[in-house]
């Protein structure tokens, strides 16, 4: 397949872009023993130069190695941690530059489901109250109506009315995850950032939830940023998928294209490693060799070169640039240089 030149590709605004993340960087300083005075500061480069666009009504799946910065990307977009660099353009303004007041409005539109469902629930609050909270914050309905809404949403995510009065520790992992989802859904957001929203659900409920999400999306024109490890789930829900590795976005493509023709060696390895719930259908796995690199001192050049089966000399020194295969499919890998 001939590769288009990266330089002169113009992406037509076929769809209305809703959220645009540009060159996002987030470095965490590494806490040192405070007696070591003179050492240089080191950073965990959790997110390094990530850009992508979320269009209206679409789902952007974010996959990648554990610890590669997916959650951090999600949290940073909402400015839950301060970004080191970069922009997140929503409604024409940079979220990172907003005043607290404006930020709060944006946060009504962009909701987040946290990866860790238990710790994201206040242990002292009954679930009902926790769920009502966003309604109160944004002045929706009166006390009675709010209770109604909450009970409704509990039901929607497959929980019972009784659960309204329970405390978080009385729930199972999957139930908590659904509570997190309910909390994010309750405000009718425009964008939903979901960090592993179904990982703790059994497939039957998972499918209910995924169906629900799809339904909501089509009805309300929602956009999702969907972070997950479950390739099956991602495939099912996403329109486009970004693959991250060690803080960088290495490949981005429409779902079908990614699954049928993954370009980046990491993506290929990833797809090959998915376990299949059928016996005897073991696939040929691309086994990644080499040590896992650390985000504290990522490898020079292409961050994947230490484990890449196709590694070349230049990979070790040169950072690969983004190259477009089609308008929507691009990859950062030297293999596809002309």
């Amino acid at each position: 397949m001939p590769m288009t030149k990266s330089s002169n590709v113009q992406i037509e605004p076929a769809k209305e872009s809703l959220l645009e993340v540009k060159q996002l960087k987030k470095f965490f300083p590494v806490k040192k023993n405070f007696l070591h005075l003179n050492k240089e500061k080191t950073f965990v480069q959790a997110v390094n130069d990530v850009s992508f666009t979320l269009y209206k009504g679409e789902t952007y799946g974010l996959v990648g190695e554990s610890g590669c910065g997916k959650s951090t990307t999600g949290r940073t977009i909402l400015k839950l941690t301060d970004p080191t660099e970069g922009q997140a353009i929503y409604n024409g303004s940079n979220i990172f530059k907003l005043s607290e007041q404006e930020l709060r409005k944006v946060r009504q539109d962009i909701q987040m489901v946290f990866q860790d469902p238990y710790s994201s629930l206040n242990p002292r609050k009954r679930i009902g109250k926790t769920l009502e909270e966003p309604l109160v914050i944004h002045n929706i309905g009166n006390a009675h109506e709010r209770t109604e809404i909450v009970m409704e949403i509990l039901h929607t995510v497959g929980l019972q009315l009784e659960h309204y009065y329970r405390y978080p520790h009385e729930f199972s992992g999957g139930q908590r995850q659904r509570i997190g989802l309910a909390r994010a859904l309750i405000l009718n957001p425009k964008i939903l950032i979901m960090d592993e929203p179904v990982s703790a659900l059994d497939v039957s409920i998972q499918s209910q939830i995924l169906n629900l999400l799809k339904k909501l999306q089509s009805e309300l024109d929602l956009s999702f940023l969907f972070i997950s490890h479950d390739m099956g789930v991602v495939r099912h829900i996403s329109d486009r998928i970004g693959v991250m590795y060690l803080g960088r976005l290495v490949e981005e493509a429409p779902t079908d294209e990614l699954f049928s023709a993954p370009l980046h060696p990491y993506t290929q390895a990833l797809l090959s490693a998915v376990p299949v719930p059928k016996l005897g259908t073991k696939r040929e796995r691309v086994i990644l060799k080499g040590d896992l690199p650390s985000p504290m001192n990522p490898p020079s050049g292409c961050v994947f070169h230490t484990r890449c089966p196709f590694v070349m000399e230049r990979c070790k020194s040169e950072v690969p640039q983004k190259k477009h295969k089609t308008m929507e499919h691009h990859v950062a890998c030297h293999l596809y240089d002309e």
């Binding site: 946060r107 909270e133 966003p134 109604e148 009315l161 405390y167 909390r183 339904k215």
Partner: protein, 306 residues
């Protein structure tokens, strides 16, 4: 999933559930022994200070010097003080002053200290300022502050309360801050932020409930401490104006005669302890009411008996 059961049954179920929860709330409240004990003790004390004066046969100032320091006997149930005044009467009249002072100070310091501690834990720049103010306030001797305030504003109970509140607030603030520093790093606080909750809301509705239990402990301590300290201040002319009784100044009078009149220290001391127990039980009960893990222990006991 999409089939949200028939709306009718659903709303019925909701109603039933709400009723059930209301009953549970009542039950929870009533089965909260600490709280009940606390409320009864405090109610008793409040009643004592309100109705007591109408019942006793003496005036708190009425003195027969010749009867000074009589041990408890029929005529003076709790004995007499060093001026021959009826101790019971003075203790009853003193209740109003002491509980009033103790309560007001405990409440004021709790509220102000809570606010200061929470905001300090939340905003780094404020932290520097507020905590340094606290350091300074803690360093200024309370007695001096009290004398100065009394001189400036006159010896009134309100001023005692102001002075002692200033003295005690930093303690509360620091305790609250320390607990809040941990709470504010929790993921659920981040979750609230992501929901667009204002800082005020997060601080008061989400962080505050999580720091309440150390606050309660500190507040009870302050309650007791201020009852006693008030009396120490009245030595400097900064307390409840003499010869009005308060538990604290009865105690201090008792200290001078501690070698031969135990009743002058024991009775007011006992009342202070009772009041502390009352307030504390109330606090514990409040705490338990908010503790998601607590009720069950009760349940088990109930069951074990059955």
């Amino acid at each position: 999933m999409e089939g949200i059961g028939s709306t009718l049954t659903l709303s019925q179920a909701r109603k039933k559930l709400k009723k059930e929860q209301n009953e549970l709330l009542k039950k929870r409240f009533l089965s909260n022994y600490s709280m009940m004990i606390g409320i009864s003790i405090l109610a008793f004390l409040v009643l004592l200070s309100l109705v007591g004066p109408l019942v006793v046969g003496y005036s708190p100032y009425e003195m027969v010097v010749n009867n000074r320091l009589q041990a408890p006997h029929a005529e003076h149930i709790l004995g007499t003080d060093n001026f021959g005044r009826d101790l019971l009467t003075r203790i009853i009249y003193g209740a109003r002053a002491s509980i009033g002072v103790g309560f007001s100070i405990a409440i004021i310091t709790s509220i102000v200290g809570l606010a200061v501690g929470l905001y300090a834990s939340f905003y780094k720049s404020l932290d520097q300022i507020l905590m340094r103010i606290c350091d300074g306030l803690m360093a200024i001797p309370g007695v001096l502050l009290a004398i100065a305030l009394m001189a400036a504003l006159g010896p009134k109970v309100e001023n005692v309360i102001i002075a002692l509140s200033i003295v005690f607030t930093p303690y509360v603030a620091r305790i609250v801050r320390s607990a809040a520093l941990v709470v504010r790093e929790q993921t659920y606080i981040e979750a609230m932020k992501s929901q667009g909750a204002s800082s005020t809301r997060i601080i008061w509705l989400h962080v505050a409930p999580n720091v309440i239990s150390p606050l309660i402990v500190q507040a009870t301590f302050i309650f007791a401490d201020s009852i006693i300290t008030e009396a120490a201040l009245s030595f400097l002319g900064a307390g409840i104006p003499a010869p009005a009784p308060s538990w604290g100044n009865i105690l201090y009078d008792g200290k001078l005669t501690i070698f031969n009149a135990w009743w002058m220290t024991v009775f007011p001391g006992l009342l202070i302890i009772i009041a502390v127990i009352g307030l504390n039980s109330l606090g514990d009960g409040l705490r338990d009411l908010m503790d998601p893990h607590y009720k069950k222990v009760k349940k088990r006991r109930a069951k074990a008996k059955a």
